[in-house]
């Protein structure tokens, strides 16, 4: 059974069908790419998967469980974490706190304990610190833990966003244009990071990307969207040589 199963997903904004008849199957452990020209509806698909928008039709199954119509926060608890096209970090919080806040579902103490710093507070905070530092060290950011997240260089901010998403222990990770605005060195580093989380956590990843080098380099399967509809779907190599796809990207001769 597929980890993520999307059936006939559709969303309509007024008279516009931004995403229409969208189907997707992602197996456990796959690295899947979602590509398409600008305005094709890729981010809309992400917003549908994460509950930002409610689909007009269709259903989304994660691990066999129907999560259609769940709210964003619920969907994260169901097991989907994401990053954003334009970085959304908690800019006035430290790097460590950015990760710790993502851990909070798994380390529970009540408000009163937090206000009085009673009993389990110290123990749980210590455990949270330890786990957050462990995650940061996987991403090579443990030395910057005390830094304000907005003071990180651009590439590191992207990484921190991925680290924060990973801290919620998702089953599926969605990356929205992770290489946007990166120079070739940063992109190479990002590819290493993505491979690392795949190998280390056996993570299933769905990513949107325009950087074809990155897409052809790491994605195993692709779905191409154009005008809200699936244009092609399948193995990366086959899809990228599909004349329809080339036409969508480069136009007619």
């Amino acid at each position: 059974m597929a980890l993520l199963e999307v059936n006939d997903l559709c969303i309509q904004f007024g008279g516009l069908r931004a995403v229409d008849d969208f189907n997707l199957n992602i197996e456990q452990g796959e690295l899947y790419g979602l590509i398409g020209p600008n305005g094709a509806g890729k981010t809309t698909v992400f917003n549908l998967l994460t509950g930002v928008y409610r689909p007009t039709e269709g259903q989304i199954l994660l691990d066999g469980k129907n999560i259609t119509g769940h709210k964003t926060a619920e969907i994260n608890r169901d097991g989907i974490a994401r990053t954003f096209q334009n970085i959304r970090l908690f800019s006035k919080m430290s790097v460590l706190d950015n990760v710790k806040v993502a851990l909070q579902d798994r380390y529970h103490y009540n408000t009163l304990t937090g206000i009085l710093h009673l009993g389990s507070y110290k123990k749980l905070e210590k455990e949270m610190d330890a786990e957050a530092m462990e995650i940061l060290s996987v991403f090579g950011m443990d030395k910057d833990a005390e830094l304000l997240s907005s003071n990180l260089p651009y590439g590191q901010q992207r990484k921190l966003e991925i680290a924060r998403a990973m801290a919620t222990k998702p089953k599926l990770l969605l990356l929205d244009e992770p290489a946007a605005g990166m120079n070739p060195n940063e992109t190479a580093e990002l590819m290493d990071t993505i491979s690392l989380i795949r190998d280390k956590y056996k993570m299933t990843i769905l990513l949107i990307e325009h950087d074809m080098k990155l897409v052809s380099g790491i994605c195993e399967k692709l779905t191409v969207l154009n005008f809200g509809r699936v244009l092609a779907q399948g193995n990366t190599k086959d899809v990228l040589s599909d004349p329809e796809v080339i036409k969508a990207y480069l136009g007619d001769e």
């Binding site: 994460t50 930002v52 709210k71 964003t72 926060a73 619920e74 994260n76 608890r77 974490a81 994401r82 954003f84 959304r88 970090l89 908690f90 800019s91 006035k92 919080m93 706190d97 710790k100 806040v101 993502a102 909070q104 579902d105 380390y107 529970h108 103490y109 408000t111 304990t113 937090g114 206000i115 009085l116 710093h117 507070y121 749980l124 905070e125 924060r164 998403a165 801290a167 919620t168």
Partner: protein, 358 residues
């Protein structure tokens, strides 16, 4: 000997503890001066108000600086805390000992302002930014005006209330007037004093600063920094907004209890509970540094005392006050000054480290 000193310094390394130390130091100094009898009666009368404005500034900072939502109705929450606790103390004026009565009045005042904060939060926290400010502004004025025309009495048959006149209450002859319309509450026992006020200030500081350093506090700040990202990592935005706003209102209510138990006649006038007071509290928070709890306390103390102490200068009073506001604004907000301050702090820290190792 040196080791002991080190220990003392390490207590001050945590920036929260510095705040407590400053408050306690002020308390000790003022107590000594009061005992020595060198404090003018004018100044000694300002000490409790200084504390409750500091408390309400801490509470408002939780809403503005930590939650990131602008509230212009904190004088209203203060008003609720003041009136409910004063009415309670009226009822038990003769039947309960002072300490217990004040403690229960405190609980009542905090509970009611928290309740109102919660009820208002349900619709209002769905709004963002300016809308929240407008609604809270209106709320503060509504509360003030309602309490200004509220008559409340208690007799053997229970509570009576009216919004028109005392006679409407139709009380038995043994009845007791609790709130007498625009005349307000008179004869509330003066249970508050400077030491209690300082103690409550420290309580509010502990609550807010510990909250910031806890799981809930991080969730609240993450909503401030980026609501969409907070949702994406599973934070229940509504719950934490409600928590922060309710706590903020409760702390304002605590300040209100101090207010009503430090004044013999409590009236819901614009001078004490109008929107200009809400703005004044916001000025303390903004000038002290949004999100800086210690800054709020210091700004509230200085900016409250200053115009009061300058009363002797008459017409120059407001001129000096406004110059001070501008100077504080520059010190706390101008980027060039902030850089300079950071530099100085670095130097200071380095110097300390050298001294420590030597």
């Amino acid at each position: 000997m040196t080791k002991m000193k080190d220990n003392k310094l390490s207590f001050l390394k945590k920036k929260e503890n510095v705040t407590y130390a400053i408050v306690i130091a002020v308390w000790i100094i003022m107590e000594i001066l009061l005992k020595a009898g060198v404090v003018s009666s004018h100044l000694s009368g300002l000490l409790v108000p200084m504390c409750y404005y500091a408390i309400v500034a801490v509470g408002l900072n939780l809403c503005v600086g930590i939650l990131g939502e602008l509230s212009l109705g904190h004088a209203g929450f203060m008003c609720i805390g003041a009136f409910f606790s004063a009415a309670f103390s009226q009822i038990f004026k003769d039947s309960l000992p002072g300490g217990l009565r004040f403690f229960l009045a405190l609980v009542i005042g905090i509970a009611f302002s928290a309740l109102f904060g919660f009820l208002i939060g349900i619709p209002v926290l769905r709004l963002n930014g300016d809308y929240l400010a407008i609604v809270t502004l209106a709320f503060g004025e509504i509360i003030k005006n309602i309490l200004n025309s509220l008559y409340l009495g208690l007799d053997s048959k229970g509570f009576h209330f009216s919004l028109t006149s005392m006679l409407e209450l139709g009380m038995e002859p043994d009845g007791k007037t609790l709130i007498n319309g625009a005349m307000g509450v008179t004869g509330t026992p003066r249970d508050a004093n400077f030491t209690i006020a300082i103690f409550l200030l420290i309580v509010s500081l502990i609550v807010v600063q510990n909250l910031i350093n806890s799981r809930d506090g991080r969730a609240i700040m993450s909503i401030r920094d980026n609501r969409i990202a907070a949702e994406s990592i599973g934070i229940n935005v509504t719950k934490y907004k409600m928590l922060a706003f309710t706590m903020s209102a409760a702390i304002a209510g605590m300040a209100g209890v101090l207010f009503s138990h430090n004044i013999s006649t409590l009236q819901a006038t614009g001078q004490y509970f109008g929107y200009n007071v809400s703005i004044m509290i916001l000025v303390y928070v903004v000038l002290g540094g949004i999100g800086s709890i210690r800054g709020s306390v210091i700004a509230a103390a200085v900016l409250y005392l200053l115009p009061e102490l300058l009363r002797g200068l008459n017409k120059y009073r407001m001129l000096i006050y406004s110059i001070v506001l501008i100077v504080v604004m520059i010190i706390n907000w101008a980027p060039a000054v902030l850089d300079k301050r950071q530099e100085l702090m670095m130097k200071f820290r380095k110097g300390n480290r050298k001294n420590g190792t030597a």
